[in-house]
Every structure is written in C-alpha cells, then in structure tokens.
C-alpha cells in the first residue's frame, strides 16, 4: 500500500515516460483500441444472451394460452401448469426426480466429506491418486457409463430401479462434493478442533459441534451441487430408468423426441426456477464466485 502510494507520487512529479501512455499515443491507435473494446463488449454480451435467452423463451412458451409452443406467447395463461398438475405421469416423474436427487445428495456428500476429511493433511501422492480415481467417471462419456451400468446391473437384475440411478448419479456428483469439501477444509482453522479435542471432546462430537458449524457454507454448496447434478442428469437415467422410475428430464426427452409439447415448456420452466433458487441460496450463503472457482 505504502509503496504504491509512493509510486503514484513519483508519477505526479515526473512527466509521463517516453514509451507513450494513453494520452500520447496516436489517434488512430486509440480509435483502433476503442473499436476493439466495443467488439469485446458485444462479444461477451452476445455470449451472455446466448446462455440465458433460451430460458426467457422457454418460460414464455410455458405461459402460452394456445396448444402450440410459440414465442412470444399469444395470450398468457396458466392452463398448462394446471394440466401438468393433473398428469399422473409427470407427478410420478417429479417424485422420482426428487427421490433420486435426495439420495444422490446423501450418498455423494457423505463419500465426499469422508474422503476430503481423510486426505486433509495429505498432499503427497495418495491424495493425487484418490483425486484421480474420483475424477475419472466424470470424464467418461455419459452414454458409455449408461451402457456399462445398464449391461452390468441388468445381469444382477437391478436395472430400472431407483438405487441404481442414485448410484450412477453419485458417480458424477461425488468428485464435485469431494473437491468442494477439500477446498473448504483447506480454509478451515483446524486448531479450533484441536482445542475442542484438548478440552475432552470426542472426535465425532468435536467434528459435529466445532467443525461442521464453521464449514456450513461449504457443506451446503457441496450438497446443492450434488442435488442439481442429479436433478439435471438424463443420459444415464435414460438407459437406467424404466416406465415406473423415469425422472423429469427423461420424460421431457421422450416427449421432445416426438413433438414440441407445451408440458415440456412447463416442466423446463419449473426446473430452471428450481435451479435458480438453489444457485441463489448457495450464492447468498457461500458466495457465487467461490462456487465458480471451487468446482
């Protein structure tokens, strides 16, 4: 701080260096730079629109009064939301999605927290190996994983069952909860826990009463990421689910393959709103940028 202050003072005293600052550069160069800046702004705003515009369109079509999927909506109505609520198939899919996402959250958070805790003092090769092993499933194409799991679990007679889908989703969610928790534990001051141990707390008690309250934000972030990963996954679910165990994305995919169904607009909108709420909740407790960096 003191140093930069001194620098600024020196700059005030002496005239600009000879290499040419913004003010001494020729006009053409400055114009070129200005247009470059404008192109850059347009580029990233276009990407921003590219990323988000679809949601506006999907939400718009879900509110349309007619039976066609059109944007902008010709008349605003909630009739398709009503239709959805009276469709047993979609209700069952929603229930399946919630059960699978809840199960995935529990399994992958437990596995991720345990492994991150076990490796918290370890920086050498065992940590690298475990991280590598946990990450590999994330890099295998979903189709290949879906096919491998379908072939394997159908030999055991476990295909089309909820626990199988939970296991498949946990394969992708666990590396993420593991890496979030590793980053979280690395930031935690473990002397607090040691103090609790010195004062006679048992290990589990010290963990639950001293560590957990301090890493709540990280835990919540890990759990939410696992939940959302499961909620949106569909390639593996497509192979592993049956008529009774279909999740929302699988239902949506099946009807999309046939035609543009207003009910898909409605469920898509609800899914996006659910994700928005989760991201907002995590953003408030853990900070958006931390999620952007840790995962």
């Amino acid at each position: 701080m003191a140093e930069s202050g001194a620098d600024a003072g020196a700059e005030d005293a002496a005239p600009a260096p000879a290499i040419g600052t913004a003010s001494t550069r020729p006009l053409a160069a400055r114009l070129a730079e200005l247009s470059g800046t404008i192109v850059f702004r347009i580029a990233y705003l276009a990407v921003f629109a590219f990323l988000l515009a679809p949601f506006v369109v999907v939400a718009g079509t879900s509110l349309d009064a007619s039976g066609a999927v059109v944007f902008p909506p010709s008349g605003v109505s909630l009739r398709w939301y009503d239709t959805l609520l009276s469709s047993p198939d979609w209700i069952r899919a929603a229930r399946n999605s919630l059960i699978v996402a809840g199960g995935t959250t529990m399994v992958s958070t437990t596995l991720g927290v345990g492994a991150a805790l076990g490796l918290r003092n370890v920086d050498s090769w065992p940590a690298t190996v475990v991280t590598g092993i946990a990450l590999v499933p994330l890099l295998v194409p979903g189709v290949v994983l879906g096919v491998a799991l379908l072939v394997f679990f159908s030999q055991l007679g476990l295909q089309q069952q909820i626990p199988t889908i939970v296991a498949a989703h946990s394969l992708w969610a666990t590396p993420l909860t593991f890496s979030v928790m590793r980053a979280t534990f690395a930031r935690y001051d473990w002397r607090l826990r040691d103090a609790a141990l010195n004062l006679g707390a048992s290990r589990p008690r010290a963990f639950l009463e001293v560590v957990v309250p301090n890493v709540r934000a990280g835990l919540l972030a890990a759990a939410c990421i696992a939940f959302v990963v499961s909620l949106q996954e569909f390639v593996m679910s497509l192979f592993l689910s049956g008529r009774e165990t279909r999740t929302i994305p699988v239902m949506a995919w099946n009807s999309l393959r046939n035609s543009l169904d207003p009910l898909v607009s409605v469920t898509s909108t609800l899914l996006v709103v659910a994700v928005l709420l989760v991201v907002l909740a995590v953003g408030v407790t853990a900070g958006l940028e931390r999620i952007a960096r840790d995962t």
Binding site: P17, I19, T21, R25, A29, E33, G36, F40, Y44, V47, F48, L51, L52, A53, P54, F55, V57, V58, T61, V69, F71, L111, L117, L119, N121, P126, I133, A134, P137, L139, V140, P141, G142, V143, V144, V147, A148, L149, V151, A167, S170, L171, T174, F178, Q232, F234, F239, P249, A252, W253, L256, V264, S268, V272, V275, L276, L288, I291, A292, R293
Partner: protein, 311 residues
C-alpha cells in the same frame, strides 16, 4: 517427503516417524475407503464387465455369447464403413466444438474477471445458472430459439437483416450450437478459475508501460491463462467425443456420433459385443486425449512456474 530427507543413521527416529504416519493414515484410509469402494463397485467392476463383453462372440439370436472369447466386436466396428465415417465425423465435430468453446470461454471468462460490481455478479450468475440447467431444457430451448420459425430467425427476418430464415437445426451447425450449450459454461469456469489467480494489477502495469489493451492481454494475461484453456479444451473435447443428446436432437440423421451408434447397437441392434467394443474404443480415445493434454499441461505447468519465479 522424499526418501532423501531421512538420514540412514537415525533409524530410531525414522521408525517413530513411520509409526506416527501409519496411525494417521490408518484413520485417513478409513475415511477415504468408502469413496474408493463405491468407485470400485459402481465404476471399475461394471466397466471391467463391459470390456469382458466386448471380447465375446457376436450372436444373432442373443445379445452376446456368454463365456466365449473373441475379437468379433472389434473386427465388426473396424470393418464397418458406417462406423468409420461416424468416427471421423465425431472427431471433427469434437474439434470444432472444442475450438469454439475455448474461444468463447476465454472471452467470457476475461469479461467476468475484468468486470466489477453488478455486471460481475450478473456474468457469474449467468454462467452458473446455465451450467446447472438440465441439458434437456437447454436443448429444448435451443430448438425454440434456432429453428427456422424460431425466435432468432423471426427477429433477423423481421428486422430485415436477412431475407430468408437461416437453417440452424437438423444440420451440423445445429448439432454444434446444441453441444456448445452443454460445454461452454464449463469452459468459462475452467478458464476463470485460472484467471482468478492472476494479479489484476499486472494488466495495469502493462498499460502504464505503454502496452495497448490487446497487447497487454496477449503478452501478460494469455500466457498465465494457458493451463485453464487446456482444461477447458479437455472438458469440451472429451464430452463432445462422447456426445449423444445434442447431435441426436438438433442434428439430422447424417450427424450421427459414435455415442449414438453405441446406444443403437445396444438397444436396437441388440448386438452387445459390438456395442461394448465401440464403447471401449470411444473411452480409449477420450483417455488418450486426456493423457496427451496432461503431458502438455505438465510441460506448461513447468513453464508457468518459471514465469512466476521470474516475476
């Protein structure tokens, strides 16, 4: 931690040290074991079984012939002109998607990094929401936006920019756009996570020394970003080589990737030997690409460590 740290004469100290680490790693192992066991049961064993099935005889009446050993599946996919064409298409498709995703990811991540206040929050939130949104929803939305009578064409034709609607679905551009929706958020975050570690005052310093904005970016920021770009490229490439949903929904019958072929062989042709063989080949391709990127990254990592040491 290296072997050279220990003095051979201090055998008592070393034994004590070993006992201490054994106690610590015993508890650590207990906590790490469930994750490893889970990966073993749900990933390693099923994948091993897939490899085993890829080595069985093909059969017409059933999925595969149990207990046989044969290279039928691999021979079948090597000799099929269709599958070879699909393989070439998939690699080209993945290359195009990767190049676009890395470029777009860099522009957006750089904007995120340089932005401040509400704009920064909006840009970060935008990419997170897109990343966490169901792939099905993104693909469905892409159909609504990019189809001939979709929102984009309506806007472009309506405002007179173009005379006739652009065909952006049921072809290669459609498949590429759809796949970009899946990989761009990850490319952005991979690049951003590296950019976030770069000291922003470096840019100001370069500017003060007279570098133009593009020059400051190319000479100062870009070299530091390369590891992030490599990770972005790896994610985009591996996921595109295995792409299934995007080309199936927004491509036409001629934009068939090997991922689609694996699913068809399994579910429609009921030829499990060939499906498993192709799945193994796809995975091997992905792992080969990853290994190559890892070697590149290690070399790059050494170089950037030197840069850091210099600075």
């Amino acid at each position: 931690m290296s072997l050279g740290d220990a003095t051979p004469t201090d055998s008592d100290v070393r034994a004590a040290f070993r006992r201490a680490t054994a106690a610590v790693s015993g508890r650590s192992a207990g906590l790490v074991a469930p994750l490893l066991l889970f990966d073993l049961l749900v990933f390693v064993v099923p994948f091993g079984y897939l490899v085993r099935i890829s080595l069985t005889e093909q059969a017409t009446a059933q999925a595969f012939v149990e207990g046989t050993w044969s290279l039928d599946g691999y021979r079948f996919i090597a000799e099929s002109a269709t599958i070879r064409r699909e393989f070439v298409f998939t690699l080209g498709f993945a290359a195009v998607v990767t190049a676009l995703a890395v470029g777009i990811g860099l522009v957006y991540a750089y904007a995120m990094w340089r932005a401040e206040g509400p704009l920064r929050v909006a840009l970060v939130a935008g990419v997170l929401v897109s990343m966490f949104t169901a792939i099905v929803v993104k693909l469905f939305a892409a159909v609504l936006v990019f189809s001939p009578n979709g929102v984009l064409n309506a806007a472009l034709v309506g405002s007179g920019v173009i005379a006739a609607p652009l065909t952006l679905v049921n072809n290669v551009p459609g498949a590429v756009i759809a796949q970009l929706y899946i990989v761009v958020p990850y490319a952005v975050l991979a690049t951003f996570s590296v950019l976030a570690t770069v000291d922003e005052s470096l840019v100001e310093a370069a500017r003060d020394l007279g570098a133009s904005r593009p020059r400051a970016f190319l000479a100062v920021v870009l070299p530091h970003t390369v590891p992030g770009l490599l990770v972005a490229g790896v994610i985009a490439f591996t996921w595109s080589v295995g792409s299934y949903a995007a080309p199936l929904l927004l491509g036409s019958g001629s934009e068939r990737t090997v991922g689609i072929e694996v699913a068809d062989l399994l579910l429609q042709e009921f030829d499990w030997s060939a499906a498993a063989a192709l799945a193994v080949v796809v995975t091997t391709t992905v792992i080969a690409a990853l290994t190559l990127a890892y070697l590149l990254m290690r070399r790059q990592g050494g170089a950037s460590a030197e840069v850091a040491a210099d600075g």
